[in-house]
């Protein structure tokens, strides 16, 4: 029945990438709403942006979400960790690495746009070190030791590439009920542009 190593491989689809922002305690997400409306007006090539869901009233919640067909973008405050998040909804062909790259690139590109957005006055900035990657599908990737074992080397390889061989740490979400999630933290700070460059 095939190669046992292959069988253990977890298909990583519906990849989420969240870039943790700096100074998040005093962030005001209200000005984000007109910005996201403009993104919908502009419609970036290759994806369909649809609508905005505003959950600022919910503590430690999804923040402000730009709903798209292929994926959602948000400034998300889950776990009281404010970050720019990309949530890939549509399945993607290719390898796990391709899919990790796609989601990371989408999150980073969105983050760069927000950092450069004059209406936000430079208030939303990537902290430079912390990135969460998670798989939004409990059947593909239950939050278990088995998934961790199967995916660990891929995450490490991805982190090595992203952080260009500098030091980083990898930890995993421990609550088995939560999504399978890896917390990457680089020892030195990176700019969004530098990380985009690492992705090639």
């Amino acid at each position: 029945m095939g190669n046992p190593v292959m069988q253990q491989q977890t298909e990583l689809q519906h990849v989420n990438v969240k870039l943790i922002l700096q100074n998040h305690a005093d962030a005001d997400l209200e000005p984000l709403i007109p910005v996201f409306h403009q993104w919908i007006q502009d419609q970036p090539p290759g994806e369909l942006l649809l609508d905005i869901a505003d959950y600022q009233h919910v503590p430690a919640g999804p923040g402000v979400v730009l709903i798209g067909h292929e994926g959602d973008y948000s400034v998300d405050n889950t776990d009281n960790r404010l970050g720019v998040r990309y949530n890939r909804k549509a399945p993607l062909d290719g390898s796990n690495e391709d899919r990790l790259k796609q989601a990371a690139r989408a999150a980073l590109t969105a983050c760069r746009r927000l950092e450069e957005e004059p209406r936000l006055g430079g208030k939303l900035r990537f902290g430079g070190q912390e990135i969460e990657i998670f798989i939004n599908d409990r059947l593909l990737a239950p939050n278990s030791d088995a998934t961790r074992e199967a995916a660990d080397s891929e995450f490490r390889a991805f982190a090595r590439k992203l952080f260009r061989g500098t030091d980083y740490s990898v930890t995993y979400e421990s609550d088995p009920r939560k999504l399978f999630k890896v917390f990457l933290k680089s020892a030195q700070p990176f700019s969004v542009a530098a990380l985009l460059e690492s992705l090639g």
Binding site: E11, Q13, H14, I33, P34, H37, I40, Q41, Q43, L48, L50, D51, A53, D54, Y55, Q56, H57, V58, P59, A60, G61, P62, V65, I67, H69, D72, D76, T78, D79, K89, A90, P91, N136, D137, R138, L139, L140, D175, R177, K178, L179
Partner: protein, 751 residues
């Protein structure tokens, strides 16, 4: 959309109740058939609505982006999931929670689904349901399977059906109740779910249960069927019963329910509901949607005549053991606490004291309280749901209920645990005080997600919460206890009629531009089961509504007479004076360059009505024939799947069954007395549709009917690879002909 959609059925096999698993398989097949163009868009619309799968704003493929109407190029192109409803457009999934009752595991399931299929938020509705938004239709079968594994169904959460059976969230623990109505409400919910007598309504039908008549909790007066628990002494013994009301309902014009019977014994509530359903199905309006609720039927007939018809129907009902099976158990039903009753001095921080004051309520059982978790706009995150599940397990036997005020209550909290519980809730942002006060604004989805929304009810509610929350504890006591409810349009899903201050969205022109407004509705009453409805006073731009609230509450606090309720204050003040008080707020801005009025709360786009679509409140009136024909299609599809999987005999039997089902569907247009016996079906079909040539195709004549006759003759021979294949093709042609035949009959050619 999810890669895992193909695998949930297998993963959860054996964990879902069998009938639910089967229903969801069927629904999934129906979706597949729609994609193949084999099911009409109207039929798939009502089919999904009856599974709680609603449309959402912009699903007609158009959206005003603030500058212009943009057409939304969904990848599946012109494929629809209903008239003018694009397949790929995000939709809403309503999840039925009978009596709002949940256990911890169910909260965890909702958390998972909110994360994986929606936007991370689960929303509690004004009828104790949950909703998830932005869900892709192709994810709904997986979502439903996971709910089924947690013993939850979405069946009949929307559409022209019996909606969630609601009940007072304090039932069983309320000091004022006659008795615990929970088991009766659950029995009714179970009995009416999918009941054949409830499948042919012209509109929805909403039942509710209350434990007493003086409080609002069950809102009996605004329901199609409202039952209030009462007791009386018979032969020296206390006997339970229900004061039963019919024909209430909100909507553009709210109706107060009428008393049907002052005392219906428990063993009669199910047959009575069934009889009412039959009368409603047979006599209710089907064409004019705006007069199809049962309230109009009762108005047209008069309550006496309606009662007479129902009681006559009752006499003819064949006995059903389920009517009474639950009664003995219901009499003794009681929830139990996890922790011993306690008493502790309610000392602590100021925040704790406030929370105790507004968010806890003594139970009839000494030493226990009900704790309310205030949810802003009814929203709760996935992580909060999981934390709440932990808290429920730690302090209770998972006695959790959703409320019609869009909150969640935990019952059976030992008073001794309150401090610890408050800490645990506070740690996850669930310890907001102000439950049931002016801050705890109730709201429908409005323009955020509803196709009919005119103004942003959620935007306004968030703003009111923010402003009132900041100062709520400085407000006058009398003002703190008022209720605000907001609907995005006149349909009143936010129940604005039964609030002290209600608002519903309307649009008005100012300086030549459309401006979002709310109609101010005053003097309604939440207490007494929502027994009096408010009246519209004046329409005011959305952006001025906070000032309306501030003026009205200020005046009430200042000029209130001893013990005067807000409703009485409104009555005493009078409409003329109220209007005068608010008039200046309705005028266009003095500075014409001030654009703030021209956009709505939380939505910076310039306001307009171009995004409104056709709502799905009523669903499509689909005849039972159309549903049966769809079922035949689905059976045929299953035959194909069996054939492809090498189960040739099974394929033959199923294909033949699908023809019988289609034939029976047609026969039922003329007579209901046809059984499942193939011989009888074919005989009736031959006499009514073949001999009369009604089934004849203009070109092929009676050829397709012959397929059925031949299939019947050969039905005892096991099918071969080839014969099954032929039979499947013939069945397809037969079913297509049945559709055409039905269309010819249903649309008579006009002269």
């Amino acid at each position: 959309m999810k890669v895992s959609n193909a695998n949930w059925a297998e993963k959860l096999a054996g964990k879902m109740p069998e009938h639910l698993a089967r229903e969801i398989d069927i629904f999934e097949t129906e979706l597949t058939l729609r994609k193949q163009g084999k099911v009409d868009e109207r039929v798939i619309a009502e089919t999904r609505l009856r599974r709680g799968v609603y449309g959402q704003r912009y699903d007609n493929g158009q959206r005003h982006n603030g500058k212009a109407v943009q057409s939304v190029a969904y990848p599946s192109g012109s494929l629809t999931k209903g008239p003018n409803t694009m397949w790929d457009a995000p939709g809403m999934q309503r999840i039925k929670i009978p009596a709002g009752g949940l256990d911890a595991g169910q909260l965890e399931t909702l958390a998972d689904l909110a994360e994986e299929y929606s936007d991370g938020i689960a929303h509690v509705t004004t009828r104790q349901d949950f909703q998830l938004h932005y869900v892709h239709i192709e994810d709904t079968p997986s979502l439903m399977r996971r709910l089924a594994a947690a013993q939850i169904t979405t069946r009949e959460a929307c559409g022209n059906s019996v909606r969630n059976v609601t009940a007072c969230p304090y039932a069983g623990v309320c000091p004022d109740q006659a008795f615990d109505v929970t088991p009766y409400s659950k029995a009714m919910s179970k009995f009416l779910l999918g009941h054949p007598d409830c499948q042919n309504f012209g509109r929805k039908f909403k039942p509710s249960f209350s434990g007493c008549s003086q409080h609002a909790c069950g809102l009996a007066s605004m329901h199609d069927l409202g039952l209030i628990g009462v007791t009386r002494i018979e032969d020296g013994k206390e006997k339970r019963g229900f004061e039963t009301y019919v024909g209430g309902g909100l909507g553009a014009v709210p109706y107060q329910a009428k008393l049907f019977d002052a005392f219906v014994p428990p063993e009669e509530i199910l047959p009575l509901a069934q009889s009412i359903a039959r009368v409603f199905a047979a006599r209710g309006e089907k064409k004019n949607r705006s007069r199809a609720r049962i309230k109009f039927l009762i108005q047209d007939l008069g309550i006496e005549k309606f009662r007479e018809l129902v009681l006559e129907e009752r006499k003819t009902l064949p006995h059903d053991p389920r009517w009474t099976e639950f009664v003995a158990e219901a009499e003794t039903f009681e929830e139990t606490p996890l922790r011993p009753a306690g008493k502790a001095p309610l000392l602590g921080t100021e925040a704790f004291q406030r929370w105790v004051k507004t968010n806890t309520r003594a139970q009839r059982q000494e030493g226990y309280v009900v704790v309310t978790i205030t949810l802003p706009l009814g929203d709760i995150t996935a992580n909060q749901l999981r934390s709440l599940a932990d808290i429920a397990r730690r302090f209770t036997n998972e006695t959790i209920r959703a409320t019609v005020e869009q909150n969640i209550v935990l019952r059976w909290i030992s008073q001794a645990d309150l401090t610890e519980m408050h800490k645990a809730l506070d740690a996850v942002g669930l310890a907001d005080p102000g439950a049931g006060t002016i801050v705890d604004v109730v709201t429908c989805p409005g323009t955020d997600t509803c196709k009919l929304g005119i103004s942003s009810s959620r935007g306004l509610s968030a703003e009111l919460r923010k402003r009132l929350g900041e100062k709520s504890f400085q407000l006058d006591e009398s003002v703190q206890g008022l209720h605000i409810k907001v609907s995005g349009c006149f349909n009143s899903c936010g129940q604005h009629h039964v609030a002290d201050m209600g608002f519903y969205g309307v649009s008005r022109k100012m300086s030549g531009y459309a401006v979002p407004h709310f109609q101010v509705v005053l003097g309604g009453e939440w207490e007494q089961n929502g027994q009096s409805y408010g009246l519209p006073v004046i329409a005011v731009p959305s952006k001025n509504i906070p000032e309306v609230v501030s003026r009205l509450t200020g005046r009430y606090a200042a000029s209130r007479r001893q013990g005067e309720s807000f409703k009485d204050f409104i009555k005493r003040t009078g409409k003329v004076e109220l209007k005068r008080m608010l008039e200046d707020l309705a005028r266009p801005p003095a500075d014409p360059s001030d654009r703030t009025y021209f956009s709505d709360w939380g939505d910076p786009r310039e306001y307009g009505l171009l995004d409104m679509g056709v709502g799905e409140c009523a669903g499509e009136v689909i005849s039972p024939v159309e549903f049966d024909l769809m079922a035949a299609e689905r059976e045929l599809f299953e035959a194909q799947v069996a054939w492809e999987g090498g189960q040739v005999e099974q394929a033959g039997v199923t294909a033949y069954q699908s023809m019988l089902r289609a034939a029976k569907a047609l026969v039922k247009i003329e007579t209901q007395s046809v059984s499942d016996d193939p011989g009888q079906i074919v005989r009736e079909f031959r006499a009514r549709f073949y001999d009369t040539q009604k089934f004849f195709d203009p070109f092929a004549g009676g050829k397709f009917a012959q397929y059925l006759f031949t299939a019947q003759e050969k039905s005892s021979e096991p099918a071969t690879q080839d014969s099954a294949r032929y039979l499947i093709d013939e069945a397809q042609l037969f079913i297509d002909a049945a559709h055409s035949c039905y269309n010819r009959i249903a649309t008579p050619v006009s002269a």
